[in-house]
Symmetry: D2
C-alpha cells in the first residue's frame, strides 16, 4: 500500500506538523495487523488444540477491532484531534503488545509466529508515531 | 436491547467483579452511539450548510469507529484484559466528549441535538464503568 | 434504541418511499445482532467443549461483521443507492440465516439460544425491508 | 502485505479448491480500498467545494464499510460458507463500482483519482475471485 502515501500526498489541506512517513507507516500497520489478527484468530480455531488457544483468539479479535478503529482515525485529517489520536495510539500499542506476547507464546504455530511479528511491527509504529506527536 | 443483559447472563464462565448493570449499560450505549454518530454524519452531509459542518462530520465518524470498537471489546469476557478495557473506555469517553461538544454547538439542527444527547449518555456510561473498575 | 427513529425523523432531507418503520426495525436489529453474535462467539470460546463449536464461532464472527456493515449502510440516506442496499440486505439475511441455524443446533447452550433468536429477528427484518423496497 | 499470503500459507487446515493467488489479491484490495475510501471521504470534507461532493462522501463511506466486512469474511476459512462469500463479493464489487464511478467524475481532485483507481482494482479482484469460485 504505497496508496496510503498517495492519499496523504493528495489531501487538499495541510497535515500540520505530523511526521508523514511515521503516519503512513502506522496507518499501513494498523490495517495489516487487523487483517493478520482476524486471520490468526480463525487459524487458531482450526488448530486441533483449540481449547488451549481461547485466550489467544480473544486477544486476536480485540486487537483486530482496535487496530482497525485506529487506522480509521489516523486516516482522517480534517479537524484533527491530537488527544483522541494519542488515546487510540496508546490503546492500539497496548492491544498489539498483548496480542504479540500471546502469539509469541504459541510461535510453534506458524500463523501465531507471523501474527506476533506483525503485532510487534504495529506496536512499534504506534509508539514511533506517538513519540513524534510530542 | 435487553439482549445485552441476556448475553451477559448466559455467559458460561464467571464475569469477575464487574458491575454487571454498568457493563450492560455501557455496551448498549456504545452500539447506540455508533449508530447515532453514523446517522448524524450523514444528516450533516444533507444540510444546506454542509461546508460549516465538516469538522462535526469528522468527529462523528471517529466517534462511531471508536464506540463500535469499544462495544466489541466490552462484549468479550474470555481472557479479560483490564488495561485494554480501561484504555478503550478512556478513548471512547474522549471521543464522545468531543462529539457531544461539537454537536451541541449545532443543536439547532435536531439530528445534532439528538446525537449530542446520545454522546453524553455514552460518555457517562464509559466513565461510570471506568470508575467501577477501580 | 428509539434513537434510531429520532435520527430518521430529524434527517434534513427526504427519505424517499422507504417504509420508515421497517427501516428503523432493520437498523436496530443489525446493531443488536452484531453485538449478540460478538458476545456469542466469545461465550462459545468459554465453553468446555469449544472444539465442537469452531464452525459456530466463525459463523458468529462473519454475521457480526456483515450485520454491522449493513447497519452502517442503512443508517445513511444521502445519495441512496438501492442496489447496494438490496445486495447488503441479501447478504445480511443470508449470514443471519446461517448463524441462526448453527446456533439453534446448540440451543442447549443458552447464549446460542438467545443468539439464534436474535439472528431470526434480524433475518426477518432484512427480508421485510427488502420486500418493501420492491 | 505479503503478510496476507503468509497467513494463508500457515493456515493449519485445507483451504479447499480456492485460487490462493486470487484470494490473497482480493483480501489485500479489500483492506486497501477500505483505507483509501476512508481517506478520500475525509479529503472530500476538506475541499472548498464540499457541497458538491456529499454523494461522493457517502459512497466512499459505504464502500469502506463493505470492503472491510468483505476482507474480514475472506480472511476466515474455518467452516467456509460459499454462499455468503459470493454474496459479499457481489456487494463489494457493486460498492466499488459505484464509488469508482463517482470518484472518476471528480478525478481532477487527485485523491478521488487515486481512490477511483483503487476501487477499480478492488472491484476487479472481487470479480476475479467470484469467477474462480464458479
Amino acid at each position: 500500500m504505497t496508496l496510503v502515501e498517495d492519499m496523504l500526498d493528495t489531501y487538499p489541506a495541510g497535515l500540520g506538523n505530523v511526521d508523514r512517513k511515521k503516519l503512513a507507516d502506522c496507518i499501513r500497520e494498523c490495517y495489516a495487523c487487523a487483517q493478520a489478527c482476524t486471520a490468526c484468530a480463525d487459524a487458531c480455531l482450526s488448530e486441533p488444540d483449540v481449547a488451549s488457544l481461547t485466550k489467544c483468539i480473544r486477544t486476536n479479535l480485540d486487537c483486530a477491532d482496535v487496530c482497525f478503529a485506529t487506522g480509521q482515525v489516523l486516516s482522517r485529517h480534517t479537524g484533527y484531534d491530537a488527544n483522541l489520536t494519542r488515546a487510540m495510539l496508546e490503546a492500539c500499542a497496548m492491544a498489539c503488545k498483548s496480542c504479540g506476547d500471546m502469539c509469541e507464546e504459541h510461535s510453534a504455530m506458524l500463523h501465531c509466529s507471523k501474527c506476533a511479528m506483525e503485532c510487534r511491527n504495529c506496536e512499534r509504529a504506534c509508539r514511533e508515531l506517538l513519540k513524534s506527536l510530542g
